[in-house]
């Protein structure tokens, strides 16, 4: 960044224009977040989504188990049918 500034001065910009927009790009942005008052909507949505996800996961697991058992039975019946 310093090399860039030196180059700018070399190009003869005698009167350095003041920065129009005095903003900096910084990775750390500190918001005045208020952690004292809970964001109840966010909390409710997070818990609701977690409960829904767990319910879906457990349901999917049970369905997969039943489907596996069903296909195992079908395969056995099919093999017994030809012998």
């Amino acid at each position: 960044m310093a090399a860039g500034l030196r180059a700018v001065r070399r190009w003869g910009l005698a009167a350095a224009a003041p920065p129009r927009l005095a903003f900096t790009r910084s990775a750390s942005v500190v918001k005045k977040g208020n952690n004292g008052q809970p964001n109840w909507l966010g909390v409710g949505m997070a818990f609701g989504t977690s409960a829904a996800l767990w319910g879906f996961l457990i349901k999917e697991h049970n369905e997969d188990e039943m489907e596996y058992e069903r296909r195992k039975r079908e395969r056995r019946h099919k093999c017994e049918g030809c012998s």
Partner: protein, 100 residues
């Protein structure tokens, strides 16, 4: 490309507590703790709803990925065993030309 083709349901489903679920769930929880740390909140005690949500998402993603991995491994095993079945000469034990 479908994540889980229909024939993957012929495989026994992995238990709900498996290495994918545990690892991804733990990393989700860790991400929530890191979020607390970067926002200068108490690491373990703040945002429990966020920790639970991230851990749940991790468990969910881990479970789907383990199912996919087991399907891919089973498919490769099936193709390997089919090949062995179709080329018995190459795999005939005991009567090899080199005698071993």
């Amino acid at each position: 490309m479908v994540l889980l083709p229909d024939e993957s349901r012929s495989l026994p489903p992995p238990p709900l507590l498996n290495k994918g679920t545990v690892w991804f769930g733990f990393s989700g929880w860790l991400a929530a703790l890191l979020d607390n740390a970067f926002n200068q909140r108490p690491v373990l005690r703040a945002g429990v709803h966020r920790q639970i949500l991230f851990a749940t998402l991790g468990c969910f993603v881990g479970y789907q990925l383990v199912k996919r991995a087991e399907y891919v491994h089973a498919k490769v095993d099936r193709e390997l065993l089919e090949y062995i079945r179709h080329h018995p000469v190459d795999f005939h034990a005991g009567k090899g030309t080199l005698g071993w």
